[in-house]
Symmetry: C2
Subunit: 142 residues, 2 copies
DNA sequence: ATGGGTGCAAATTGTTTGCAACTTA
DNA sequence: TAAGTTGCAAACAATTTGCACCCAT
């Protein structure tokens, strides 16, 4: 399914669905969770999937633009992504001590965001909410 | 006031309130809005305020840790900050077309975030909500 | 066949660091 | 005066790019 979406997206932009782009897409959707470009590369290399670092860096923005992938957690020095298609939207609680990422979702939150957009006459597309603090394991031991 | 807070913060950590740190603090609080390290440096240089790039990069994390400044808008390749002391907390609507940043605030939103933290037994410290989309001027013309 | 795409390695860019000289508490 | 701090320039790390060859359409 995500293949179709990506193919369509590329087609509309006059871009080509190359083997490499396919492979990257597949890899991104092969597992659930966050990833970064370097990790993606390593993961693919370890499975003998031929792809260059440059192609990964060139493909990720396309995946984001197509709406299949989102950039999240931009705190670290390198970019983190997660695929969103076929996933419920969710937000993140990030532990400042151990780095744990807890996914949360609240319909009320979504509703309020819509409200905020309406009030500002703003057409919301995507959003990111990150709450940083201490997870249940770390909050005692500070 | 922010000077006192910073001084106190540094004191507790056994750090010193140097001229450079003062100057950076003053500059950060001299105007309202977002900034990045490079811009801060240029702004200071243009007013003949003596400071090195290294000091800026070394001081900003201290300002963040002290709670006087927050890191926001982590989409771009470089870090963006804004001072928060003496400011209401707010979130951001970011226009994907013209780059406009609209500040919004909703008490309901804050309340729900607290609720989310409680549900996950998480001790929230700070949070960032960014909604990306199109502002009132750009949403028509797409 | 044509225009986009790839891999590589070199280039860029934002940020960090080692070090000698200097300040602050 | 002891411990932290500065500025500089060199070092880093993540990402981007130029180019010659390659491959979807």
């Amino acid at each position: 399914m995500e293949r179709e979406i990506f193919r369509e997206f590329l087609y509309k932009k006059g871009l080509k669905l190359t083997k490499e782009r396919q492979r990257i897409l597949d890899e991104v959707f092969a597992f659930h969770g966050h990833f970064d470009p370097e990790g993606l590369l390593k993961s693919m290399r370890s499975r003998n999937i031929k792809v260059s670092k440059a192609s990964i860096y060139r493909t990720l923005p396309l995946l984001v633009e197509s709406g299949l992938v989102e950039q999240v957690e931009k705190n670290d020095k390198h970019a983190h992504y997660e695929h969103t298609f076929g996933h419920e939207h969710h937000d993140h609680l990030i532990c400042l001590k151990c780095g744990a990422v807890i996914e949360v979702f609240s319909p009320k939150l979504e509703a309020i965001q819509d409200e905020l957009c309406r009030e500002s006459n703003f057409k919301g597309r995507t959003h990111t909410l990150e709450i940083k603090g201490y997870c249940c394991n770390c909050k005692e031991t500070r």
